[in-house]
Subunit: 334 residues, 2 copies
Amino acid sequence: MSMVREVVLKRAPTATPVAEDFEVVERAAPTALSGQLLVRSLYQSLDPYVGSRLRGRHMGEPAPAPGDSLPGFSVGEVLASGDPAFAVGDRVVGEMGWTEVGVMASAETRRVSGDLPAAAHLGVLGMPGLTAWAGVTQLAKVGAGDIFSVDAAAGPVGGTAGQIARILGARTVGLAGGPEKCAVLTDIYGFDAAVDYRQPDWIQTFARETAPGSTVHFENVGLSILMPAMQRLQTYGRVVLCGMAEHYHAEAPPAQMPVGMVIGKRAAMLGLVVYDFYPRWSEWVELARPWIAEGKLVSVDDVSEGVESAPEQFARLMRGENRGKALVRMSDAG
Amino acid sequence: MSMVREVVLKRAPTATPVAEDFEVVERAAPTALSGQLLVRSLYQSLDPYVGSRLRGRHMGEPAPAPGDSLPGFSVGEVLASGDPAFAVGDRVVGEMGWTEVGVMASAETRRVSGDLPAAAHLGVLGMPGLTAWAGVTQLAKVGAGDIFSVDAAAGPVGGTAGQIARILGARTVGLAGGPEKCAVLTDIYGFDAAVDYRQPDWIQTFARETAPGSTVHFENVGLSILMPAMQRLQTYGRVVLCGMAEHYHAEAPPAQMPVGMVIGKRAAMLGLVVYDFYPRWSEWVELARPWIAEGKLVSVDDVSEGVESAPEQFARLMRGENRGKALVRMSDAG
């Protein structure tokens, strides 16, 4: 009987998750029943929202218990199919835990084309990219003439959001922490300007680069960026509320924002939940495909090697040390 | 030399304004210079925002000092014109203080037709009505199939908002305090349902009447209504943030709302400032004119008699005792 390795939760984190909160276990390879697909993983996606999921603070979903599998998309190849709609060898994206080989429910699995890099289906074309597309095009409806600001802009959501906004004709200003990440914004993603929020005068820099004010702000971090960004928003600006990462682990009370500021700015505050856009995933993939082919839309991946590397790779993500989309290469074939 | 009477601020209120914060003074009648109109007032509008203006908490505008004139629109007739665009006898709406006869800047004065009741130009066609129109039609874009909830619904903003939403095809649910105001909602304004927020089980009643949830909520009061209303909003609901009346006088910190709730509801929170819509006032008047003629859009006015009555009439408004649009009849000709 062949064995496979999977990362599971070892203990429930009480603060920011660390590598020791996880462990690698070895299991007998599962089999695919009817309606299931046996999948060999090429890449495992590691995502910031898992940090809040582990503490039971994400969308009301229950926290995993010790020994449980972990959430996140995998891209892989079908080894055995219990659904006639899928064939052995198909490339698929779905959830099966952070495992080398696992089982996906075929009804919740997407087949993806093999002509794009496998890893892209977890980043720029994956949930982060879909999130960026939904916020930029469906909620904020960014277009020519907009001044678009986004934080956590070196990450896959913010970086993709900025690139989409740029392609659609906006001036783009990205916020990131440190000169290395800021260089990614301007040199790789093609932002018009990068602002390092670790600099003491970052608010002045941000105000200058977004002058006379952002018309759209895309928020991934929390109040420490959102409040200064709101103060510099143009009247009738749109604000996409996508993530509050700095509040997910904090012991502090949840993020609160002053209603008077929303009124004073005539702002439109737009809550974004990417799950709603899963049925429209192919719309984003088809829009992005020529942009990727032309080199207009790029991705930066931060890849660790092998299932054993996943706990520390996730801890790096939690510490904000990742440089681009956090992935684990699960097998050589990717 | 003829004398006129005007209400001015006597002392700066430190809490909810009372009648004793004002006094009636007698002055020589002013004259109109070039670019000015001498106007005899028919009705003076008294508005809730003045409560926050007096404490310097409205849109950054300075608080009036003792002896100063007071803000608010008057409808009146031109006695003398310093602008060839206006003739003696024209009916006009503008600001000149709470005075029997005063001076309006012609550039900031609107001529209105004489075929509608003078008082309507301060209520349903005035700033409250324009506010309601902007929120319902320009921000929330209410239409058939919407479930529309609004608070302070017996007041001129909420009452007009509910009527516009009803005319546009929405189910309308109004919140008001006490059975008398609630009867106005259903019996006069034609709301589908009224909810008395002074009843201990009002949240259950509200949930039942808006089931399966409001698609649009129009907020005039503050967190005590907004938070329960948000919890019962449908996903992708729109919330017009129009006023936070309960926070204007409170010593408590300004209204704060949880960002996580906005995200979880995928809500669009839309800040409304009526000033922005002043250039489009005639659009609202022309839309409303046939509705008024057909009896579909009605107004309830709470009128006191004579300039001396203004301080107590304003104090009643501040205590929430008004029944409809708070007005002062300033002369017999209205």
